[in-house]
């Protein structure tokens, strides 16, 4: 019996008796925060909040229509190449062709694995990154996600402000879309910028501490977000560096061209994921 055969038997032994996973990401976040609060009481330390906010990433799939749901009448007509090209054209037309260059638009599955080639028509997320300088980026992403009401968005904003994940957050409705305008301090992690926790690094001194302002539009199951991130000494300094004002970001995220077909369901009922990754995902 080969090593591979034995290894497979061990894996099957484990998987066969596997019960449903009871812990959720929310449970983890809550336990994390409780542990932090306990530590704060013991240490008398100043308040710090640790959590990551999504400035990019995948999402669940909803069957509700939006710009990217049933409004895209025929998924078979969708061309990933054309979509990527249009994505760049729209961003550069709205943001200014010379402001943000070196565009990179990529498709991702529902667990944020990059998708290449023909499978891009099964994408859950399209993400475009545009560079003004090494210290200044614009990122735009379109996601098939859960639909969101203005009330939900307001509650999320309130929570993010209360926990100091954001420094400002305003919700409004416009033409059937829920728009969220926000600002915050972030920490660069590769291609993503999660929220800064208030203690890891000092703005202006730590090269990974950046500032962002963002507008997100949710309409049906499609969410489009655009955010500008800069490396600066302070929030005030960052504001003076913004290339795009809020209304320009809002015009970008409500542009009709970002709709794309909903992804087909994956084996576990979530959005499609690249085959070799599918077994990792659990809905």
């Amino acid at each position: 019996m080969s090593d591979e055969h034995l290894g497979l038997l061990v894996k099957q032994y484990v998987v066969r008796s596997e019960p449903m996973l009871l812990t959720t990401a929310e449970d983890v976040a809550l336990a994390s925060r409780r542990a932090r609060l306990r530590g704060r009481i013991v240490m008398g330390a100043s308040a710090t909040v640790v959590a990551a906010i999504a400035l990019a990433g995948g999402a669940l799939v909803s069957s509700e229509p939006g710009r990217g749901g049933s409004d895209v009448a025929d998924a078979s007509q969708f061309s990933a190449d054309s979509y990527a090209s249009t994505f760049v054209q729209v961003v550069q037309a709205v943001a200014g062709r010379t402001s943000f260059t070196e565009p990179e638009v990529r498709a991702f599955d529902s667990q944020d694995n990059p998708i290449e080639g023909a499978d891009r028509d099964k994408a859950t997320v399209w993400r475009g990154t545009f560079q003004r300088s090494a210290d200044h980026f614009l990122q735009v992403y379109a996601i098939h996600s859960e639909s969101e009401s203005e009330g939900q968005a307001t509650a999320e904003c309130d929570g993010a402000l209360k926990t100091e994940l954001l420094t400002s957050c305003v919700v409004t409705s416009r033409d059937g879309a829920v728009l969220v305008f926000s600002e915050g301090t972030v920490r660069r992690m590769g291609e993503t910028w999660p929220a800064w926790n208030g203690s890891e690094g000092i703005p202006g001194a730590d090269p990974d501490v950046w500032f962002m302002h963002r507008v997100t539009a949710t309409e049906g199951d499609l969410q489009v977000a655009a955010f500008e991130v800069v490396r600066a000494d302070s929030a005030a300094a960052a504001r003076s560096l913004w290339e795009l004002d809020e209304e320009t970001l809002a015009a970008l995220v409500t542009h009709e061209s970002f709709g794309f077909p909903s992804p087909p369901a994956g084996r576990s009922g979530c959005g499609w994921v690249v085959p070799e990754k599918a077994e990792l995902y659990s809905c």
Binding site: M1, D3, H5, L6, G7, L8, L9, V10, K11, Q12, Y13, V14, V15, R16, S17, E18, P19, L21, L22, T23, A25, E26, D27, V28, A29, L30, A31, S32, R33, A35, V50, A51, A52, I53, A54, L55, G57, G58, A59, Q111, D112, E156, G159, T163, L165, R187, M189, G190, T192, P194, A195, W196, N197, E200, G201, K277, L280, Y281, S282, C283
Partner: protein
């Protein structure tokens, strides 16, 4: 409801099940495995803002394995894997043999088996995560496989549970 970042939630959704399987292989108890995974992900959640994306996988693997090993050592080898943990539907010959073989291994050896066969890691990566030499990983792996191979009843089974 607790607010959690989408990228953390996404990472949790993608990795939690597999990490719990790793913990179960070390601990032999799904409830303990769930506890170990929750403890490890809480550590990850607290470290998340300062971690680079490319180091997150290694971080959570180390956290899961270390937490599982600590729990296993506290509870002692005799508590690892109880027959009641096994689903009735899985009570075929190969399951019982693997159950017995894993029970005879040390927690560290089971961690090697978990990372090599449940998490599909290379010898080198397994060694890095456990902080042991590649030679030790190979010897632990070899011992576990030899124990399985030596089992007469297992030698006739095939992956999938069917018997030839």
């Amino acid at each position: 409801m607790e607010t959690v970042g989408d990228d953390f939630a996404e990472f949790f959704a993608a990795r939690a099940l597999r990490m719990r399987r790793v913990a179960f292989t070390v601990l032999g108890d799904w409830h303990l495995a769930e506890d170990a995974v929750q403890t490890a992900f809480v550590k990850l959640h607290r470290a998340w803002p300062r971690l680079r994306r490319e180091s997150v996988d290694a971080y959570v693997r180390r956290a899961v394995v270390n937490t599982s090993l600590t729990m296993a050592r506290k509870r002692g080898r005799e508590t690892v894997v109880e027959a009641s943990q096994l689903d009735a539907a899985s009570h075929d010959t190969s399951t019982h043999v693997i159950f017995d073989v894993l029970r005879e291994l040390s927690p560290s050896q089971r961690a090697v088996v978990a990372l090599r066969f449940i998490d599909d890691l290379s010898v080198s990566t397994t060694a890095q995560i456990l902080g042991i030499s590649e030679g030790t990983v190979k010897s632990h792996t070899s011992r576990a496989l030899q124990a399985l191979r030596d089992s007469e009843s297992l030698s006739t089974s095939t992956p999938g549970g069917a018997h030839e």
